[in-house]
Structures are given as structure tokens and as C-alpha cells.
């Protein structure tokens, strides 16, 4: 069986994975991957800090709360943000 793959734009960093800037790369995933599964894949490479409660996870600019990550499916071309969220204004 061949799994169809899709490309998602990963926006990662801002203090995670030792990188302070937000790096934009292509993230190739099986079609229908949920946000949760995508984070798990990412964690294999970048470590468990991906699941830290102060990490901002967003799809196309909308924050996805932790409890919704398993239900939310990604589509090709989506922008998936995983960065450290900081304070102040």
C-alpha cells in the first residue's frame, strides 16, 4: 500500500530546538496527519520540548489548544507553527 504524502510548511523555532529564529521548512507527512501526530514526528527529531505547555502551536495563524491537536487534521500547504510563546507588550 502506498501512503500518499503531503507537504506542510513547518514554522519552527523561536527558542525551541536551540534556534531563536523562526525557521520555515517543508515538512513532508502522510496525508490526513493530525496536528498531534505531526508534533510526535517532530519530537523525534527536536525532542520533547515540543510538548512544553508554553509552546505555541498554530495552523495557518490560528492557535490550536493542546486538547484539540488530536482532532485537527492537516491539509497540504498548511502552515504549522511550533514555537516558544513569550510575554510582554
Amino acid at each position: 500500500m502506498v501512503t500518499t504524502m503531503m507537504t506542510v510548511r513547518l514554522r519552527f523555532g523561536g527558542g525551541l530546538g536551540g534556534t531563536s529564529r523562526v525557521e520555515v521548512t517543508d515538512f513532508v507527512l502522510p496525508e490526513g496527519t493530525t496536528v498531534q501526530a505531526a508534533l510526535e514526528t517532530l519530537a523525534r527529531d527536536k525532542g520533547d520540548e515540543v510538548f512544553h505547555p508554553a509552546v505555541l502551536v498554530a495552523v495557518n495563524g490560528r492557535r490550536i489548544p493542546a486538547e484539540e491537536c488530536a482532532a485537527r487534521t492537516l491539509s497540504p500547504g498548511d502552515a504549522l507553527t511550533v514555537i516558544r510563546g513569550l510575554a510582554g507588550g
Binding site: V22, L56, G61, P65, G85, L86, G88, G89
Partner: protein, 637 residues
């Protein structure tokens, strides 16, 4: 109580006299700083008095806790009628002036009248002197601070000063504390300039002592540990407020190109992380008693902006003078920030008028001729810097922009009001409220205008676990921690309003209680109890916060405010930006109306007019205020 609260110092610039009065009753009723200031403004300002006249009192108030070891407790508030908006103004700054003022024995300083010649006031503990400032007039803030330290022979005195912008009555002139800390919004610097008051210098050799010192000290240490335990503590200290540009950009709330866009693809070059990585950041700087240390000191070594050295830049500045103007050049922002700081101007408003001008030029409503032969393009860092100087001195087109974006749009005419991004005449802070609904409500109801420093609802973004926990506690359900959700916003705003008022009145920085959540209202009640020796509960202290917020609203009601004044900028109410193309990403009148109805109901204010009712004023301990409003026909039905 006097050894922690200080007295009020009254200064009459017209008569060149001063006197002092104790504060005890006011502390019990209004806590301190902003709260006590609000009461003075209510009593001393006569409706109809000119903002630039002798009868607009300029009131300084430092926190009840200021001078102690309580973490980040050195904030000082200035209160007056805003010349920019015609509405209530409270503006707040850090630095170290507040501590020194308290050691000199003062919690509040009420400045009335108008000096005939440029003057500065020298407060040397109990001795108050009026001194000639003609030789200082025209000097920038940094030069003034230096000159005063030399003249008075003491490097450790503290100053507040205006620069040329305040002298020239730029509508967004700031009062600068300890050189680089701006009480920026609403034109307090212009009021100070209109009084011919160049600076106030203070030396305080006294001590601050809470009524229950041992208990107080323990509570202060506990508050500090709590702040340090917050998930955002380290990041805020390491990267400053400029560390959150990336996160705000990712949720598409980063005001860019005059709010036409809310996202840039790569914001890195104007972030706090970049300032650190690039070496532009030279030092971290802390305000009085603050363990967070979020302020920056940056300097530029090469390129067209080489030689610039200044406190800052902060989040708002990097967005207002950076992405807002279409430039991602931190060096240009640093130089523009330096000019704003030393000339004494608010960077938010400065950026806002420049963006508005860039868009007006693009659309042909402003021409090269208007700009003294200069062209103007988005992202032109050198133009930004040049305009900043011209505005401070009201030169050329700078004179138009110096009046703020609302008046500039009225003068230029056409459709330019549509992209004048202000509420109540105050340029909006750089949060795209189309993507943040609690902020939207907060900005609309803020008595001084559309910004976040009345009610910083950072928890709205849901980025910090502590913030999410807070929203869940206030609303009962974690689903409301979504910034695009417009339900329950009234409850969220109300909690933050009360907490923020108590925070300001005690002298705490908002970062301890509403951006980091280390200092809770319960902790504020405890430490207040130890400070003044009168047991006060969390409910009681939040009630005092409520009283302060209500009094500020009453001031505006007396000035003629109605529901119609609680609005947002035209662009955010009418245009969707392509970075958030969803139908809910707009601050529509309909949505705002629902939130306002909720908000007024929750407050006990009349829906039609927004005015507090008699019953509400009684419940919050403002019966006399209600009486005066009634005499003026400003009580609902």
C-alpha cells in the same frame, strides 16, 4: 502608614509655592499612585479648562509599595486631561524616579498652575525649590538629565524631563523618567511643556518602612519567587518585550503596513532574539526593584544608523516603527527610538502617524511638495528617522503629524480617516484586535483611548499555561482561551481592569500580574495589609480597583463621553486583512455591540449611554461623584 505611603506634595507653578498633606485616607480609599491621582484629578479639574492651561493639573503618583523590595514595584503614574484626546489620561513609567520620590517622603506630587518662564523643580527631601530652566529649554532629555546632575552636584539624583517635543506641544510628547523610561501615551509631555516645566529632579535620603516589616518582607520574597516561577519569566528577561514579536506574528496579530497586514513572512530581524544574536543589544536594564529586567540598551556600530545608542527598543516600538512602516531593519528602529526617547515622544503614536503618512502618500493624498520635496515609501528607514526629528520640532510636514493621526487625517481630508488607526483620538497599540477579541473590547472601553495599558489581556492569546488557567478560572471553561472568540470577553476584561488598577496603584509592574501571573490579587491584598497594617481581603482590594476604574469612567462621563466613544479604528471595524481572511477576523460594530452590552451590564452601567448608574456608584463607594454627575445631568434615567 506615612513611612510607606508618603505625603502628597502640592506644587503651584504660578505662585511658586509648595505644601504637603498626609495621604492616609486616600490610601485606604484609593490605594496609591493611579488611584489617588484619579481622585485628585476628579476634584481639581474643572470641566472646560484648557488642557494647556494653568487649570489642568499634572499629577504624579508612585506606588504604595514603591521604595520597598517587593518585586517590580517601582512604577509611577502621571494623570491629567489629555490634550490629544480631550479625555482622561493616566500614563505610567518605570525607571527609578518613583523610588527616589518615595525616599524624599512623597507618594504623590500635584503640579498646578503655569510657570512664567521655563522652570524646573528641585525636590531635595523636604526642601522644594523652583529653579530657572531657561538654559535647559531646548535640550534633549538625556542632555537635561546630565546637566541637572552636574548643576546639582549629585550623580544619584533622579529626574523626569521633557524634551523639545514636549516644549513644542507635540500631541504625543512623553515625560521621560530616568532618561529612557517613557510615560508615553496621550501627550502628558505636552501638558508639562505648556506649564513651562522642563523637569523635576529629586533626591531622597529617607527610608521606607511598612507597618509590619517582617511580614511584609516575607510576602515580598514570596511574590518574587512566584514571579520567577512563571513560565514566561526567563524569556521576558532574556529577550525583553521584543521577544514576543515572533509569537504574535505567528498568530497573525502583528500590525504591519498600517494594519493592512498582520503577518510578515520572516520577522526575525526585528525581534528581541535578533537584537541579542546580532550584538545590537549591549545590556539588559531593570527598573527599580525588578528581578525580571526586561528593558534593553542597544547601540548601532555600523551602517547608516551608526552611533545610535539608546534604551529600548520595546515590542511596540519595533512594530510601530518597524513592521508597521514596512521595514524590518532593527538599526533604523533603534535610531528612530533614540530620537523619540531624547526628544521625548511616544513611539507608538510616532510610528502610527508615520505609517498613516506613508499610506496617504501611496494613495496620493500627500505629495512630495507636502514633504518638502522628499519622497516617501514604505520601509524607508532614513525617512522614518528624518520625520521623527521634524515632528519633534514641528518642522514642515512634521507640524501636521505632530498633532496626532486623528487631527492629521482631518486636515488632509479625503478618505485618510479610514486609515487613521486610533480610538478616542489615541493611536492604537500594535495589536491587531481583529485577531484578539478581548483586546478589542479592552481597547474600545479604555478611557484614555485604544490601547493595552488599561487592561493588558495577554492571556487572550492563550500562549502561556498560566494565562490559560486564568481565563479558565474567570470564565469557567478553557474553550474561551481562544483569541478569536468574542464570548465572555466582558468577564475577562473586567477581571483584568480591576487587577490592573490595583497593580498600578500599588506600583507593581503589569508584567508581574497580567503578562506573567506571579502576583495575584490575593497576594496584593496580603502585602497591602502588611504595608499599612490594616487587614484587607482579595475581594476588598479588587473592590478598590473597581472604584478606581469607575472613577476614571466618571471623569470621562463628566467630560461628555457616551457609548459612541467606545469604538475602535475605522480600518479594524471595516476591513479584513488578507493574512486573516476568515469572516470573524474583523471588529464589526455588531460584534462590538454585543461585547459592549455584556460589559456595561456586568459593570452596572447603562447600555444606551455607557454611564454608571446611581446604584452602581453607591455600591462602589462613589456617592459624592454620583451627586455631581446628577447635577450635571449625567446619571442615567
Amino acid at each position: 502608614m506615612k513611612q510607606i505611603a508618603g505625603d502628597t506634595l502640592f506644587i503651584d507653578l504660578s505662585k511658586r509655592i509648595s505644601w504637603r498633606e498626609p495621604n492616609d485616607d486616600l490610601v485606604r480609599q484609593y490605594l496609591g499612585a493611579r488611584g489617588i491621582n484619579a481622585r485628585y484629578l476628579w476634584e481639581l479639574y474643572e470641566p472646560g479648562a484648557d488642557a494647556f492651561g494653568p487649570d489642568n493639573p499634572l499629577i504624579f503618583g508612585t506606588g504604595l509599595l514603591t521604595g520597598t523590595v517587593a518585586p517590580s514595584s517601582g512604577r509611577t503614574t502621571i494623570t491629567c486631561l489629555s490634550p490629544a484626546t480631550g479625555w482622561y489620561l493616566k500614563t505610567n513609567a518605570g525607571g527609578h524616579f518613583g523610588g527616589e520620590m518615595k525616599y524624599a517622603g512623597y507618594g504623590n506630587i500635584v503640579v498646578q498652575g503655569q510657570a512664567e518662564e521655563p522652570t524646573y523643580v528641585w525636590i531635595d527631601d523636604a526642601r522644594v525649590k523652583f529653579r530657572d530652566a531657561r538654559h535647559l529649554w531646548g535640550k534633549d532629555v538625556r542632555e537635561t538629565d546630565r546637566a541637572l546632575k552636574e548643576e546639582l552636584g549629585d550623580e544619584d539624583i533622579q529626574t523626569v524631563a521633557i524634551g523639545p517635543a514636549g516644549e513644542n506641544r507635540v500631541m504625543f510628547a512623553s515625560v521621560m523618567f530616568t532618561v529612557y523610561n517613557a510615560a508615553g501615551r496621550g501627550g502628558a509631555g505636552a501638558v508639562m511643556g505648556s506649564k513651562n516645566l522642563k523637569a523635576v529632579a529629586v533626591r531622597g535620603t529617607g527610608a521606607v518602612k511598612p507597618v509590619q516589616p517582617a511580614r511584609f518582607h516575607e510576602l515580598a520574597l514570596a511574590a518574587r519567587r512566584s514571579v520567577e516561577a512563571d513560565s514566561g519569566f526567563e524569556g521576558l528577561g532574556t529577550y525583553g518585550t521584543s521577544g514576543s514579536l515572533a509569537a504574535v506574528n505567528e498568530v497573525r496579530a502583528l500590525a504591519s503596513y498600517n494594519f493592512r497586514r498582520s503577518h510578515v513572512d520572516d520577522v526575525y530581524r526585528i525581534t528581541g532574539q535578533y537584537l541579542s544574536d546580532s550584538g545590537l543589544l549591549k545590556r539588559r536594564v531593570a527598573c527599580f526593584s525588578c528581578p525580571i529586567g526586561c528593558h534593553r540598551h542597544c547601540a548601532v556600530g555600523d551602517g547608516p544608523f551608526a552611533g545610535s545608542s539608546t534604551g529600548g527598543p520595546e515590542f511596540e516600538t519595533l512594530v510601530a516603527l518597524g513592521s508597521g512602516c514596512g521595514t524590518l531593519d532593527a538599526r533604523a528602529v533603534i535610531m528612530a527610538n533614540e530620537i523619540a526617547n531624547v526628544m521625548g515622544m511616544d513611539t507608538i503614536s510616532l510610528g502610527s502617524v508615520i505609517q498613516w503618512a506613508m499610506e496617504s502618500y501611496e494613495k496620493g493624498l500627500i505629495t512630495k511638495e507636502d514633504l518638502d520635496g522628499r519622497e516617501m515609501h514604505w520601509g524607508d528607514g532614513e525617512m522614518i528617522v528624518e520625520l521623527a526629528r521634524k515632528i519633534a520640532f514641528r518642522e514642515g510636514f512634521g507640524d501636521v503629524l505632530a498633532d496626532g493621526v486623528k487631527r492629521a487625517a482631518e486636515r488632509v481630508g479625503g478618505d485618510s480617516y479610514k486609515w487613521a488607526v486610533h480610538g478616542k483620538g489615541l493611536e492604537q497599540s500594535r495589536v491587531d484586535t481583529r485577531s484578539a477579541k478581548a483586546y478589542a473590547l479592552a481597547f474600545a472601553v479604555n478611557p484614555r483611548g485604544a490601547d493595552h495599558l488599561h487592561t493588558e489581556t495577554f492571556a487572550d492569546f492563550g500562549m502561556s499555561p498560566e494565562g490559560r488557567a486564568l481565563i479558565e478560572k474567570i470564565t469557567g471553561d478553557p474553550k474561551y482561551t481562544a483569541a478569536y472568540c468574542s464570548e465572555k470577553r466582558a468577564e475577562i476584561v473586567r477581571w483584568h481592569e480591576d487587577c490592573y488598577a490595583v497593580t498600578d496603584a500599588l506600583g507593581y509592574c503589569a508584567f508581574t500580574s497580567t503578562a506573567l501571573y506571579g502576583v495575584t490579587p490575593a497576594m496584593m491584598a496580603d502585602i497591602y495589609s502588611a504595608a499599612i497594617g490594616i487587614e484587607t481581603t482579595e475581594d476588598e482590594i479588587m473592590h478598590l480597583g473597581r472604584r478606581i476604574v469607575t472613577l476614571e469612567k466618571c471623569f470621562n462621563v463628566r467630560q461628555g463621553a457616551t457609548r459612541a466613544d467606545d469604538h475602535l479604528p475605522w480600518r479594524l471595524m471595516n476591513e479584513i486583512n488578507p493574512d486573516r481572511p476568515e469572516p470573524d477576523a474583523i471588529n464589526s460594530q455588531a460584534e462590538l455591540d454585543v461585547m459592549l452590552d455584556d460589559y456595561y451590564d456586568l459593570h452596572g452601567w447603562d447600555r444606551a449611554t455607557s454611564w454608571p448608574t446611581r446604584a452602581t456608584l453607591e455600591a462602589v463607594g462613589l456617592v459624592d461623584v454620583g451627586g455631581e454627575l446628577e447635577r450635571r445631568g449625567k446619571l442615567p434615567g
